[in-house]
Protein backbone atom coordinates (compact mmCIF):
# COMPACT_ATOMS: atom_id res chain seq x y z
CA UNK A 1 0.00 0.00 0.00
CA UNK A 2 2.65 2.49 1.04
CA UNK A 3 4.59 1.31 -1.95
CA UNK A 4 1.77 1.96 -4.34
CA UNK A 5 1.07 5.30 -2.71
CA UNK A 6 4.53 6.52 -3.60
CA UNK A 7 4.14 5.56 -7.24
CA UNK A 8 3.47 8.19 -9.83
CA UNK A 9 -0.04 8.30 -11.23
CA UNK A 10 1.34 8.64 -14.75
CA UNK A 11 4.86 8.04 -15.84
CA UNK A 12 5.74 8.58 -19.49
CA UNK A 13 9.25 8.01 -20.69
CA UNK A 14 10.49 8.60 -24.23
CA UNK A 15 7.18 8.00 -25.89
CA UNK A 16 7.22 8.13 -29.69
CA UNK A 17 4.34 7.72 -32.05
CA UNK A 18 3.75 8.06 -35.76
CA UNK A 19 0.39 7.45 -37.43
CA UNK A 20 0.26 4.69 -40.04
CA UNK A 21 0.40 7.29 -42.82
CA UNK A 22 3.75 8.47 -41.50
CA UNK A 23 2.68 11.61 -39.63
CA UNK A 24 4.91 11.91 -36.60
CA UNK A 25 2.65 12.92 -33.72
CA UNK A 26 4.83 12.34 -30.65
CA UNK A 27 8.58 12.49 -30.25
CA UNK A 28 10.45 11.56 -27.10
CA UNK A 29 7.69 12.64 -24.79
CA UNK A 30 8.59 12.28 -21.11
CA UNK A 31 6.90 13.51 -17.95
CA UNK A 32 5.60 12.29 -14.65
CA UNK A 33 2.39 13.17 -12.87
CA UNK A 34 1.90 12.47 -9.19
CA UNK A 35 -1.34 11.35 -7.64
CA UNK A 36 -3.74 14.15 -6.90
CA UNK A 37 -2.07 16.62 -9.25
CA UNK A 38 -4.14 18.53 -11.75
CA UNK A 39 -2.40 19.29 -15.00
CA UNK A 40 -3.28 21.35 -18.03
CA UNK A 41 -1.93 19.93 -21.27
CA UNK A 42 -1.64 22.68 -23.83
CA UNK A 43 -0.17 23.07 -27.29
CA UNK A 44 -1.08 24.24 -30.77
CA UNK A 45 -3.51 22.44 -33.10
CA UNK A 46 -1.90 19.24 -34.25
CA UNK A 47 0.61 19.16 -31.38
CA UNK A 48 -0.28 15.59 -30.49
CA UNK A 49 -2.29 16.25 -27.34
CA UNK A 50 -5.18 13.98 -28.26
CA UNK A 51 -2.73 11.39 -29.50
CA UNK A 52 -0.94 11.51 -26.18
CA UNK A 53 -3.95 10.91 -23.98
CA UNK A 54 -5.01 7.99 -26.14
CA UNK A 55 -1.72 6.41 -25.14
CA UNK A 56 -2.52 6.73 -21.47
CA UNK A 57 -4.87 3.76 -21.49
CA UNK A 58 -3.27 1.87 -24.31
CA UNK A 59 -5.85 2.59 -27.02
CA UNK A 60 -3.05 3.86 -29.19
CA UNK A 61 0.22 2.00 -29.01
CA UNK A 62 3.05 0.88 -31.21
CA UNK A 63 6.16 -1.18 -30.95
CA UNK A 64 8.11 1.91 -30.09
CA UNK A 65 5.77 2.73 -27.23
CA UNK A 66 6.21 -0.55 -25.40
CA UNK A 67 6.86 0.17 -21.73
CA UNK A 68 6.97 3.90 -22.32
CA UNK A 69 3.81 4.58 -20.32
CA UNK A 70 3.21 3.47 -16.74
CA UNK A 71 -0.07 4.10 -14.99
CA UNK A 72 -0.06 3.85 -11.19
CA UNK A 73 3.28 2.13 -11.42
CA UNK A 74 2.32 -0.52 -13.96
CA UNK A 75 3.31 -0.55 -17.62
CA UNK A 76 0.34 -0.56 -19.98
CA UNK A 77 -0.55 -3.78 -21.71
CA UNK A 78 -2.34 -2.92 -24.98
CA UNK A 79 -4.17 -6.23 -24.75
CA UNK A 80 -5.79 -5.15 -21.51
CA UNK A 81 -7.23 -1.81 -22.52
CA UNK A 82 -10.58 -2.98 -21.21
CA UNK A 83 -9.11 -3.31 -17.73
CA UNK A 84 -7.83 0.27 -17.68
CA UNK A 85 -11.02 2.24 -16.92
CA UNK A 86 -10.70 1.48 -13.23
CA UNK A 87 -7.45 3.38 -13.26
CA UNK A 88 -7.89 6.01 -15.91
CA UNK A 89 -10.97 7.43 -17.61
CA UNK A 90 -10.80 9.47 -20.78
CA UNK A 91 -13.34 12.08 -21.79
CA UNK A 92 -13.10 12.62 -25.54
CA UNK A 93 -13.29 16.00 -27.17
CA UNK A 94 -16.51 15.37 -29.04
CA UNK A 95 -19.21 14.12 -26.66
CA UNK A 96 -21.03 12.61 -29.63
CA UNK A 97 -18.29 10.03 -29.84
CA UNK A 98 -19.00 8.93 -26.28
CA UNK A 99 -22.78 8.81 -26.39
CA UNK A 100 -23.73 5.89 -28.57
CA UNK A 101 -26.58 4.33 -26.66
CA UNK A 102 -30.24 5.17 -27.10
CA UNK A 103 -30.82 6.44 -23.55
CA UNK A 104 -28.55 8.41 -21.28
CA UNK A 105 -28.90 5.73 -18.60
CA UNK A 106 -27.42 3.12 -20.94
CA UNK A 107 -24.53 5.37 -21.78
CA UNK A 108 -23.61 6.10 -18.19
CA UNK A 109 -24.16 2.46 -17.19
CA UNK A 110 -22.02 1.15 -20.04
CA UNK A 111 -18.69 1.46 -18.25
CA UNK A 112 -19.77 -0.03 -14.91
CA UNK A 113 -21.47 -2.94 -16.71
CA UNK A 114 -18.29 -3.69 -18.62
CA UNK A 115 -16.38 -3.58 -15.36
CA UNK A 116 -18.68 -6.32 -14.12
CA UNK A 117 -20.57 -4.56 -11.35
CA UNK A 118 -23.87 -5.90 -10.06
CA UNK A 119 -27.07 -4.25 -11.14
CA UNK A 120 -27.72 -2.34 -7.93
CA UNK A 121 -24.20 -0.98 -7.92
CA UNK A 122 -24.53 0.04 -11.55
CA UNK A 123 -27.76 1.88 -10.77
CA UNK A 124 -26.19 3.59 -7.79
CA UNK A 125 -23.23 4.74 -9.83
CA UNK A 126 -25.36 6.04 -12.68
CA UNK A 127 -27.49 8.03 -10.29
CA UNK A 128 -24.51 9.46 -8.44
CA UNK A 129 -22.59 10.40 -11.59
CA UNK A 130 -25.55 12.13 -13.17
CA UNK A 131 -26.14 14.09 -9.99
CA UNK A 132 -22.50 15.02 -9.94
CA UNK A 133 -22.72 16.74 -13.31
CA UNK A 134 -26.11 18.27 -12.68
CA UNK A 135 -28.10 15.89 -14.84
CA UNK A 136 -30.09 14.12 -12.12
CA UNK A 137 -33.34 12.80 -13.54
CA UNK A 138 -32.07 12.68 -17.11
CA UNK A 139 -31.78 8.86 -17.12
CA UNK A 140 -34.47 8.23 -19.69
CA UNK A 141 -33.57 11.08 -22.01
CA UNK A 142 -32.32 10.25 -25.49
CA UNK A 143 -28.61 11.18 -25.39
CA UNK A 144 -28.65 12.23 -28.97
CA UNK A 145 -31.21 14.96 -28.28
CA UNK A 146 -29.40 16.68 -25.43
CA UNK A 147 -28.06 20.19 -25.93
CA UNK A 148 -24.37 20.82 -26.53
CA UNK A 149 -23.65 21.67 -22.90
CA UNK A 150 -25.69 18.77 -21.60
CA UNK A 151 -23.91 16.33 -23.90
CA UNK A 152 -20.59 17.52 -22.62
CA UNK A 153 -21.63 16.92 -19.04
CA UNK A 154 -23.18 13.59 -19.93
CA UNK A 155 -19.88 12.49 -21.45
CA UNK A 156 -18.14 13.30 -18.18
CA UNK A 157 -20.76 11.34 -16.25
CA UNK A 158 -20.07 8.28 -18.39
CA UNK A 159 -16.50 8.38 -17.13
CA UNK A 160 -17.26 9.31 -13.53
CA UNK A 161 -19.49 6.25 -13.24
CA UNK A 162 -16.40 4.06 -13.57
CA UNK A 163 -14.81 5.98 -10.71
CA UNK A 164 -11.29 6.01 -12.14
CA UNK A 165 -8.38 7.35 -10.12
CA UNK A 166 -7.16 9.45 -13.02
CA UNK A 167 -9.35 11.42 -15.40
CA UNK A 168 -8.10 12.82 -18.69
CA UNK A 169 -10.28 15.25 -20.62
CA UNK A 170 -9.89 16.50 -24.17
CA UNK A 171 -11.02 20.14 -24.40
CA UNK A 172 -13.91 19.91 -21.98
CA UNK A 173 -14.97 23.55 -22.38
CA UNK A 174 -14.90 23.79 -26.18
CA UNK A 175 -18.17 24.90 -27.85
CA UNK A 176 -19.84 25.65 -24.55
CA UNK A 177 -21.69 28.83 -23.79
CA UNK A 178 -20.19 30.87 -20.93
CA UNK A 179 -22.67 29.56 -18.37
CA UNK A 180 -22.12 25.92 -19.23
CA UNK A 181 -18.40 26.60 -19.29
CA UNK A 182 -18.51 28.09 -15.79
CA UNK A 183 -20.56 25.15 -14.54
CA UNK A 184 -18.15 22.71 -16.08
CA UNK A 185 -15.21 24.44 -14.47
CA UNK A 186 -16.98 24.04 -11.12
CA UNK A 187 -17.42 20.32 -11.78
CA UNK A 188 -13.74 19.98 -12.59
CA UNK A 189 -12.75 21.92 -9.49
CA UNK A 190 -14.88 19.55 -7.45
CA UNK A 191 -13.07 16.54 -8.88
CA UNK A 192 -9.76 18.18 -8.16
CA UNK A 193 -10.72 18.83 -4.54
CA UNK A 194 -11.80 15.22 -4.20
CA UNK A 195 -8.22 14.23 -4.90
CA UNK A 196 -8.64 12.84 -8.41
CA UNK A 197 -5.64 13.16 -10.66
CA UNK A 198 -6.70 15.34 -13.58
CA UNK A 199 -5.22 15.97 -17.02
CA UNK A 200 -7.08 18.61 -18.94
CA UNK A 201 -6.34 19.43 -22.56
CA UNK A 202 -7.46 22.94 -23.34
CA UNK A 203 -7.00 25.93 -25.62
CA UNK A 204 -8.78 28.10 -23.08
CA UNK A 205 -5.81 29.75 -21.34
CA UNK A 206 -8.03 31.87 -19.15
CA UNK A 207 -9.50 28.78 -17.54
CA UNK A 208 -6.17 27.14 -16.79
CA UNK A 209 -5.26 29.02 -13.60
CA UNK A 210 -8.52 27.93 -12.00
CA UNK A 211 -8.13 24.32 -12.96
CA UNK A 212 -4.51 23.32 -12.91
CA UNK A 213 -1.53 23.96 -10.75
CA UNK A 214 0.84 22.64 -13.36
CA UNK A 215 1.04 23.07 -17.11
CA UNK A 216 2.69 20.81 -19.65
CA UNK A 217 3.27 22.38 -23.06
CA UNK A 218 3.36 19.85 -25.86
CA UNK A 219 4.45 20.41 -29.40
CA UNK A 220 5.24 16.91 -30.59
CA UNK A 221 7.58 16.77 -27.62
CA UNK A 222 7.37 18.38 -24.19
CA UNK A 223 8.47 22.00 -24.68
CA UNK A 224 7.80 23.15 -21.14
CA UNK A 225 6.65 21.62 -17.90
CA UNK A 226 6.26 23.53 -14.67
CA UNK A 227 3.87 25.26 -12.34
CA UNK A 228 1.20 27.29 -14.07
CA UNK A 229 3.04 30.44 -13.05
CA UNK A 230 6.41 29.29 -14.31
CA UNK A 231 5.04 28.27 -17.67
CA UNK A 232 3.07 31.46 -18.16
CA UNK A 233 6.16 33.46 -17.29
CA UNK A 234 7.98 32.17 -20.36
CA UNK A 235 6.22 34.30 -22.95
CA UNK A 236 8.72 33.57 -25.67
CA UNK A 237 8.29 29.82 -25.46
CA UNK A 238 4.51 30.21 -25.35
CA UNK A 239 4.49 32.42 -28.41
CA UNK A 240 6.70 29.99 -30.30
CA UNK A 241 4.27 27.22 -29.42
CA UNK A 242 1.32 29.26 -30.68
CA UNK A 243 0.00 29.85 -27.18
CA UNK A 244 -0.94 32.82 -25.07
CA UNK A 245 -0.81 34.17 -21.55
CA UNK A 246 -4.11 34.77 -19.70
CA UNK A 247 -5.63 38.17 -20.41
CA UNK A 248 -5.44 39.30 -16.80
CA UNK A 249 -1.77 38.49 -16.59
CA UNK A 250 -1.10 40.52 -19.72
CA UNK A 251 -2.99 43.42 -18.23
CA UNK A 252 -1.07 43.34 -14.95
CA UNK A 253 2.16 43.54 -16.87
CA UNK A 254 0.86 46.82 -18.26
CA UNK A 255 -0.16 47.94 -14.78
CA UNK A 256 3.40 47.29 -13.64
CA UNK A 257 4.66 49.68 -16.27
CA UNK A 258 2.50 52.29 -14.60
CA UNK A 259 4.19 51.63 -11.30
CA UNK A 260 1.81 49.06 -9.85
CA UNK A 261 3.92 47.16 -7.32
CA UNK A 262 3.54 43.49 -7.95
CA UNK A 263 6.10 40.70 -7.90
CA UNK A 264 3.82 37.86 -8.85
CA UNK A 265 1.42 38.61 -11.64
CA UNK A 266 -2.10 37.34 -11.01
CA UNK A 267 -3.27 34.71 -13.48
CA UNK A 268 -7.03 34.77 -13.14
CA UNK A 269 -9.65 37.38 -12.42
CA UNK A 270 -10.21 36.13 -8.86
CA UNK A 271 -6.47 36.17 -8.35
CA UNK A 272 -6.35 39.73 -9.64
CA UNK A 273 -9.05 40.97 -7.30
CA UNK A 274 -7.20 39.43 -4.34
CA UNK A 275 -3.89 40.86 -5.52
CA UNK A 276 -5.36 44.33 -5.90
CA UNK A 277 -7.02 44.25 -2.49
CA UNK A 278 -3.87 43.05 -0.76
CA UNK A 279 -1.49 45.37 -2.57
CA UNK A 280 -3.60 48.37 -1.67
CA UNK A 281 -4.08 47.16 1.89
CA UNK A 282 -0.33 46.68 2.23
CA UNK A 283 0.22 50.12 0.73
CA UNK A 284 -1.71 51.42 3.74
CA UNK A 285 -4.85 51.82 1.71
CA UNK A 286 -3.28 53.51 -1.29
CA UNK A 287 -1.59 52.72 -4.55
CA UNK A 288 -0.21 55.20 -7.01
CA UNK A 289 -0.33 54.65 -10.74
CA UNK A 290 1.77 57.10 -12.69
CA UNK A 291 3.55 57.61 -15.95
CA UNK A 292 7.30 57.56 -15.56
CA UNK A 293 9.81 58.04 -18.32
CA UNK A 294 9.89 54.33 -19.26
CA UNK A 295 6.16 53.74 -19.00
CA UNK A 296 5.33 54.09 -22.68
CA UNK A 297 8.18 51.98 -23.93
CA UNK A 298 7.48 49.38 -21.26
CA UNK A 299 3.81 49.24 -22.19
CA UNK A 300 4.67 48.90 -25.85
CA UNK A 301 7.21 46.18 -25.37
CA UNK A 302 4.87 44.32 -23.03
CA UNK A 303 2.05 44.46 -25.54
CA UNK A 304 4.27 43.50 -28.45
CA UNK A 305 5.71 40.48 -26.85
CA UNK A 306 2.28 38.89 -26.64
CA UNK A 307 1.28 39.56 -30.23
CA UNK A 308 0.69 36.69 -32.60
CA UNK A 309 0.34 38.60 -35.82
CA UNK A 310 1.74 36.98 -38.90
Amino acid sequence: MTDKATKAAIHVHNLNYAYPDGTVALEQVSFEIQKGESIALVGPNGAGKSTLILHLNGILHSNKSRGAVKILGEPIDPKKVHKMPRKIGIVFQDPDDMLFMPLLFDDVAFGPINLGFAKTEVNRRVKESLERVGLAGYETRVSHHLSGGEKKRAAIATVLSMNPEIIAMDEPTANLDPKSRAELIEILKGLKNEGKTLIIITHDVNAIPELAERVIVLNKTVVADGTTREVFADTEMLLAAGLEVPTIMQFFEVLQAFGYPCDVLPLSLEDAVRNLTQTIENGSGHVHLHIHKHTHSEVNSSRNKHQHHR
Binding site: P102, L103, V142, H144, H145
Partner: protein, 205 residues
Protein backbone atom coordinates in the same frame (compact mmCIF):
# COMPACT_ATOMS: atom_id res chain seq x y z
CA UNK B 1 -18.23 -13.43 -48.42
CA UNK B 2 -21.09 -12.73 -50.75
CA UNK B 3 -18.92 -11.12 -53.40
CA UNK B 4 -18.12 -13.27 -56.38
CA UNK B 5 -14.67 -12.87 -57.92
CA UNK B 6 -13.90 -12.54 -61.59
CA UNK B 7 -13.67 -15.64 -63.67
CA UNK B 8 -15.86 -17.89 -61.58
CA UNK B 9 -19.31 -17.58 -63.05
CA UNK B 10 -20.49 -18.39 -66.56
CA UNK B 11 -20.41 -15.30 -68.74
CA UNK B 12 -24.13 -15.31 -69.43
CA UNK B 13 -24.67 -15.03 -65.67
CA UNK B 14 -22.44 -12.08 -65.01
CA UNK B 15 -23.49 -10.52 -68.29
CA UNK B 16 -27.11 -10.92 -67.29
CA UNK B 17 -26.18 -9.40 -63.93
CA UNK B 18 -25.01 -6.26 -65.67
CA UNK B 19 -28.22 -6.10 -67.68
CA UNK B 20 -30.48 -6.47 -64.64
CA UNK B 21 -28.41 -3.97 -62.69
CA UNK B 22 -28.49 -1.45 -65.53
CA UNK B 23 -32.28 -1.66 -65.68
CA UNK B 24 -32.92 -1.36 -61.95
CA UNK B 25 -30.25 1.31 -61.63
CA UNK B 26 -31.78 3.37 -64.41
CA UNK B 27 -35.19 3.08 -62.78
CA UNK B 28 -33.86 3.96 -59.31
CA UNK B 29 -31.89 6.91 -60.66
CA UNK B 30 -35.01 8.24 -62.32
CA UNK B 31 -36.79 8.05 -58.95
CA UNK B 32 -33.92 9.75 -57.22
CA UNK B 33 -33.94 13.51 -56.78
CA UNK B 34 -30.69 15.45 -57.04
CA UNK B 35 -31.16 16.65 -53.50
CA UNK B 36 -31.09 13.01 -52.38
CA UNK B 37 -27.52 12.70 -53.59
CA UNK B 38 -25.66 13.95 -50.50
CA UNK B 39 -27.83 11.92 -48.13
CA UNK B 40 -27.60 8.73 -50.14
CA UNK B 41 -23.86 9.20 -50.44
CA UNK B 42 -23.36 9.64 -46.74
CA UNK B 43 -25.49 6.57 -46.08
CA UNK B 44 -23.53 4.64 -48.68
CA UNK B 45 -20.34 5.70 -46.96
CA UNK B 46 -21.80 4.56 -43.64
CA UNK B 47 -22.74 1.15 -45.10
CA UNK B 48 -19.28 0.90 -46.59
CA UNK B 49 -17.55 1.75 -43.33
CA UNK B 50 -19.69 -0.52 -41.18
CA UNK B 51 -19.12 -3.45 -43.49
CA UNK B 52 -15.43 -3.13 -42.66
CA UNK B 53 -16.13 -4.03 -39.04
CA UNK B 54 -15.27 -7.60 -38.24
CA UNK B 55 -16.59 -9.59 -35.33
CA UNK B 56 -15.07 -12.89 -34.41
CA UNK B 57 -17.64 -15.53 -33.66
CA UNK B 58 -16.13 -18.81 -32.67
CA UNK B 59 -13.38 -19.64 -35.13
CA UNK B 60 -14.74 -17.48 -37.95
CA UNK B 61 -14.72 -13.76 -38.43
CA UNK B 62 -17.87 -12.25 -39.86
CA UNK B 63 -18.61 -8.80 -41.07
CA UNK B 64 -21.87 -6.98 -41.56
CA UNK B 65 -23.41 -7.06 -45.01
CA UNK B 66 -26.17 -4.57 -44.35
CA UNK B 67 -28.07 -5.04 -47.59
CA UNK B 68 -31.32 -5.75 -45.72
CA UNK B 69 -30.76 -2.71 -43.58
CA UNK B 70 -30.07 -0.49 -46.60
CA UNK B 71 -33.31 -1.73 -48.12
CA UNK B 72 -35.30 -1.01 -44.98
CA UNK B 73 -33.96 2.52 -44.77
CA UNK B 74 -33.91 3.48 -48.43
CA UNK B 75 -36.33 1.33 -50.42
CA UNK B 76 -35.54 1.30 -54.11
CA UNK B 77 -32.78 3.86 -53.61
CA UNK B 78 -30.83 1.17 -51.76
CA UNK B 79 -29.94 -0.23 -55.17
CA UNK B 80 -27.71 2.62 -56.37
CA UNK B 81 -26.19 2.77 -52.87
CA UNK B 82 -25.24 -0.89 -52.98
CA UNK B 83 -23.91 -0.47 -56.50
CA UNK B 84 -21.69 2.45 -55.51
CA UNK B 85 -20.50 0.67 -52.37
CA UNK B 86 -19.60 -2.47 -54.34
CA UNK B 87 -17.74 -0.54 -57.02
CA UNK B 88 -15.71 1.27 -54.37
CA UNK B 89 -15.09 -1.94 -52.45
CA UNK B 90 -13.81 -3.54 -55.60
CA UNK B 91 -11.61 -0.62 -56.56
CA UNK B 92 -10.34 0.33 -53.13
CA UNK B 93 -9.82 -3.12 -51.66
CA UNK B 94 -10.09 -5.58 -54.50
CA UNK B 95 -13.13 -7.21 -52.86
CA UNK B 96 -15.24 -9.07 -55.37
CA UNK B 97 -14.48 -8.68 -59.03
CA UNK B 98 -14.72 -6.16 -61.82
CA UNK B 99 -16.80 -8.11 -64.30
CA UNK B 100 -19.02 -9.35 -61.50
CA UNK B 101 -20.02 -5.94 -60.14
CA UNK B 102 -23.33 -6.28 -61.98
CA UNK B 103 -24.24 -9.69 -60.65
CA UNK B 104 -22.95 -8.86 -57.17
CA UNK B 105 -25.22 -5.84 -57.11
CA UNK B 106 -28.13 -8.07 -58.10
CA UNK B 107 -27.23 -10.53 -55.35
CA UNK B 108 -27.21 -7.84 -52.69
CA UNK B 109 -29.63 -5.32 -54.13
CA UNK B 110 -32.61 -7.43 -55.10
CA UNK B 111 -32.78 -9.02 -51.64
CA UNK B 112 -32.56 -5.48 -50.24
CA UNK B 113 -35.69 -4.57 -52.15
CA UNK B 114 -37.44 -7.71 -50.90
CA UNK B 115 -36.35 -6.83 -47.35
CA UNK B 116 -37.89 -3.42 -47.81
CA UNK B 117 -41.19 -4.89 -49.00
CA UNK B 118 -41.30 -7.22 -46.00
CA UNK B 119 -40.54 -4.39 -43.63
CA UNK B 120 -43.13 -2.17 -45.20
CA UNK B 121 -45.77 -4.88 -45.12
CA UNK B 122 -45.00 -5.68 -41.49
CA UNK B 123 -44.85 -2.19 -40.06
CA UNK B 124 -46.83 -0.08 -42.50
CA UNK B 125 -43.83 2.27 -42.06
CA UNK B 126 -45.58 3.63 -39.00
CA UNK B 127 -42.49 3.88 -36.83
CA UNK B 128 -42.60 5.61 -33.48
CA UNK B 129 -40.84 4.96 -30.19
CA UNK B 130 -44.04 3.15 -29.11
CA UNK B 131 -43.98 0.77 -32.08
CA UNK B 132 -40.31 0.08 -31.54
CA UNK B 133 -40.69 -3.66 -30.88
CA UNK B 134 -42.70 -4.29 -34.03
CA UNK B 135 -40.16 -2.31 -36.03
CA UNK B 136 -37.33 -4.27 -34.43
CA UNK B 137 -38.97 -7.59 -35.18
CA UNK B 138 -39.58 -6.83 -38.83
CA UNK B 139 -36.19 -5.20 -39.06
CA UNK B 140 -34.67 -8.46 -37.88
CA UNK B 141 -36.72 -10.47 -40.36
CA UNK B 142 -35.80 -8.11 -43.17
CA UNK B 143 -32.13 -8.24 -42.21
CA UNK B 144 -32.16 -12.03 -42.08
CA UNK B 145 -34.04 -12.35 -45.35
CA UNK B 146 -31.58 -9.96 -47.00
CA UNK B 147 -28.71 -12.33 -46.29
CA UNK B 148 -30.61 -15.56 -46.87
CA UNK B 149 -31.74 -14.41 -50.30
CA UNK B 150 -28.28 -13.14 -51.19
CA UNK B 151 -26.85 -16.54 -50.29
CA UNK B 152 -29.56 -18.31 -52.21
CA UNK B 153 -28.86 -16.25 -55.33
CA UNK B 154 -25.19 -17.01 -54.95
CA UNK B 155 -25.80 -20.74 -54.53
CA UNK B 156 -28.03 -20.96 -57.56
CA UNK B 157 -25.53 -19.03 -59.66
CA UNK B 158 -22.59 -21.17 -58.61
CA UNK B 159 -24.41 -24.43 -59.16
CA UNK B 160 -25.79 -23.45 -62.56
CA UNK B 161 -22.27 -22.48 -63.59
CA UNK B 162 -20.93 -25.96 -62.99
CA UNK B 163 -21.17 -29.08 -60.94
CA UNK B 164 -17.60 -28.68 -59.74
CA UNK B 165 -18.76 -25.73 -57.63
CA UNK B 166 -21.13 -27.77 -55.48
CA UNK B 167 -18.55 -28.32 -52.77
CA UNK B 168 -17.58 -24.68 -52.83
CA UNK B 169 -21.23 -23.69 -52.57
CA UNK B 170 -21.77 -25.96 -49.60
CA UNK B 171 -18.72 -24.52 -47.89
CA UNK B 172 -19.70 -20.89 -48.55
CA UNK B 173 -23.24 -21.52 -47.34
CA UNK B 174 -22.17 -23.23 -44.16
CA UNK B 175 -19.70 -20.51 -43.19
CA UNK B 176 -22.43 -17.95 -43.71
CA UNK B 177 -25.04 -19.49 -41.43
CA UNK B 178 -23.84 -17.45 -38.43
CA UNK B 179 -23.96 -14.32 -40.57
CA UNK B 180 -27.68 -14.76 -41.10
CA UNK B 181 -28.26 -14.68 -37.37
CA UNK B 182 -25.80 -11.86 -36.82
CA UNK B 183 -27.32 -9.76 -39.55
CA UNK B 184 -30.87 -10.38 -38.33
CA UNK B 185 -29.99 -9.39 -34.76
CA UNK B 186 -27.99 -6.45 -35.98
CA UNK B 187 -30.74 -5.09 -38.20
CA UNK B 188 -33.30 -5.61 -35.45
CA UNK B 189 -31.22 -3.69 -32.91
CA UNK B 190 -30.38 -0.86 -35.25
CA UNK B 191 -33.98 -0.44 -36.42
CA UNK B 192 -35.14 -0.41 -32.79
CA UNK B 193 -32.46 2.12 -31.98
CA UNK B 194 -33.47 4.45 -34.76
CA UNK B 195 -37.13 4.04 -33.82
CA UNK B 196 -36.25 5.29 -30.34
CA UNK B 197 -33.87 8.02 -31.32
CA UNK B 198 -34.90 9.43 -34.69
CA UNK B 199 -38.02 7.65 -36.00
CA UNK B 200 -38.59 10.24 -38.69
CA UNK B 201 -35.59 8.85 -40.58
CA UNK B 202 -37.76 6.01 -41.86
CA UNK B 203 -39.95 8.46 -43.70
CA UNK B 204 -37.00 10.10 -45.46
CA UNK B 205 -36.99 8.49 -48.83
Amino acid sequence: MVHISDGVLAEWLWGGGWAVTAIILAYALSKMKTEDVPRLSVITAAVFVSSLIHLSIGPTSVHFILNGFAGVMLGILAYPCIFVALVLQCFLFGHGGVTTIGINTVNMGVPALVAYLIFRAGTGLDIRPETKSVASLFGAIAGGVGVVLALLFLAVELITTGEEFIETTVLVMSTHVPIIAVEAIFTGVIVGFIATVEPELFGKK
